[in-house]
Amino acid sequence: MTGRERVAPSRRRARRRQVAWCFVAPALIVIAVFFVIPVVAAFAISLTDFDIYALADPSNLRVVGFRNYVELLERPLFWKALGNTLYFVAAGVPLSLAASLGAALLLNSRLARFQPFFRTALFAPVVTTVVAVAVIWRYLLGTRYGLLNYALSSVGIAPIDWLGDPRFAMPAIILFAVWKNFGYNMIILLAGLQSIPNELYEAARIDGASAFARLRFVTLPMLAPILSIVAILTIAGYFQLFAEPYVMTQGGPLQSTLSVLYLMYEEGFKYWNLGNASAVAFLLFVLIFGVTLLQTRAAREQFAR
């Protein structure tokens, strides 16, 4: 054992600070180099018309200021992609949250049997690879030979061209996304439900509250903070829709499943218009940031009451 050096407290603190930096430095360097710098660079690139010509010869690069952003906002395809993404968020998030909450409430019920099995089964889709299950779903949604249409036909509904009809492609993707993700929030909400003290239910029961009243006045208010966080994170996540259209529909049919991120991928990696692609990415970021900010502020006000 080294001697108990009588070092001045300030020097000890200074040394400890140095050591602390050694602990965080590796991770911080990685994050700074491989995340922060690229994000800043992305903004810089979005102010130029970087494309394949510029890739071949840097002298072909022009700094165009905010022209990319202006052109993007004037481009119908961008608004279509934005509309598609908003449709996905507006329809998908409530469905997903409802499914997660419903499943969590069911799992939490005293009447439920085989809880570990059900919990695992309901969570299984979250763990799978998007690519692999999208292939399955693409097949199950097939017009002629898909099992979904077969099941629908047994109740008299005509076969729907899920992935080929512009009206049904996005609903199909929403269904798929909900299936894939609802288990994740279910677990979080389950944790929240389990942390609600029993005494509150007891008190409500003594006061003569029915089952549904207890749900409305005890469960949901107590769950509200977690539900709010889950909603915020889910919305932010759903804005980043990409893998599902990439594998299942390639943004079609008629670009009805083209999401903002898919547009960015096409501009950036299919056509190498990096200036445009970065502009799309930043617009998306601003959008997500704005929505998240609004939500957190609303949530904070709600809970301050």
Binding site: M1, A27, A112, F117, V131, I136, A191, L274, A281
Partner: protein
């Protein structure tokens, strides 16, 4: 066995018996909804080529065959992709654990200037979608010569803000006196970390390991962009590529999907306790 004086304790106890049927019935329906595509994937992978495209669509193979799997390994080279996935997921997990655990512990227990402000800044950065950085990151890696290499996939994943957050939250619960006592005894910070902290953090380390393993195994967009050489492909990338090429060979695709999904499902089933624990913890404490 119900004593009349025992007070019923749950809302559902008030409901008639059929309610139990309802609850479990709904859970069963939910489980069926969740599991059906996966089970069908398994069934279809054993079907003969073309069998899945018949009407009415089959649920089980008429004559189960391993032909699709044979085809995958002999002609489509799945063995190589499987090896790549295992290698990359393992390497990324092992290395990122080191980076994230050290940083997470430091943010929780080691004092340095600007610690809290830096941490809040990092949390804010979680909102930035990773895809914003993809294009410049690609160009940066090209300068570093890491494009089309294993390094290009691993290096950006070496540290993650979410991982640091998770570790920090858990590390907050380590009693300060323990650490102070070790310091007074003259042990260096590094020794304290190795001998005292890491054993205490082992639950969250396992959780983070599972998270990272699943995340890197399933990651598809970044490897798709960074890797050109087919020999380096991971399973999701190879499957995406295969699915665009063999649009018509559905049974083969199902076999590929089984191969891509099964390892993660097995790991998850074995370690699900830790994974769920970590999720729940992140939720309640966050």
């Amino acid at each position: 066995m119900t004593n009349a004086s025992q007070k019923p304790r749950w809302w559902s106890d008030y409901l008639p018996r059929p309610a139990a049927l309802l609850v479990n019935g709904l859970l069963l329906a939910g489980a069926a909804f969740a599991l059906f595509p996966l089970l069908w994937m398994l069934a279809a992978s054993f079907m003969a080529p073309g069998e899945a495209s018949t009407y009415p669509p089959p649920l089980l193979p008429a004559h189960p065959t391993l032909a699709n799997y044979r085809e995958l390994f002999t002609h489509a080279g799945m063995g190589r992709y499987l090896a790549n996935s295992i290698l990359l997921a393992a390497a990324a997990t092992a290395l990122s654990l080191v980076f994230n655990v050290m940083a997470g512990y430091a943010f929780a227990k080691l004092r340095f200037r600007g610690r809290e402000r830096l941490f809040r800044l990092m949390l804010g950065a979680l909102v930035i979608p990773g895809q914003v950085a993809m294009v410049p990151l690609f160009l940066l890696l090209k300068q570093m010569g890491l494009v089309d290499t294993y390094g290009g996939v691993i290096v950006p994943a070496l540290a993650s803000i979410f991982g640091i957050f998770l570790v920090r939250q858990y590390a907050l619960s380590i009693p300060d006196d323990l650490l102070e006592a070790a310091r007074i005894d003259g042990a260096s910070e590094w020794k304290i970390f190795r001998a005292v902290v890491v054993p205490l953090l082992s639950p969250i380390i396992v959780t983070l390991a599972v998270f990272t393993l699943l995340g890197t195994w399933n990651d598809f967009m970044w490897p798709l962009i960074v890797l050109s050489d087919q020999n380096l492909y991971t399973l999701p990338v190879a499957l995406a590529s295969l699915s665009r090429e063999h649009v018509q060979d559905n049974e083969l695709m199902m076999a590929g999907s089984v191969l891509t999904t099964l390892p993660v499902l097995i790991v998850f089933l074995a370690l699900q306790r830790y994974y769920m624990q970590g999720l729940m913890m992140g939720a309640v404490k966050g």
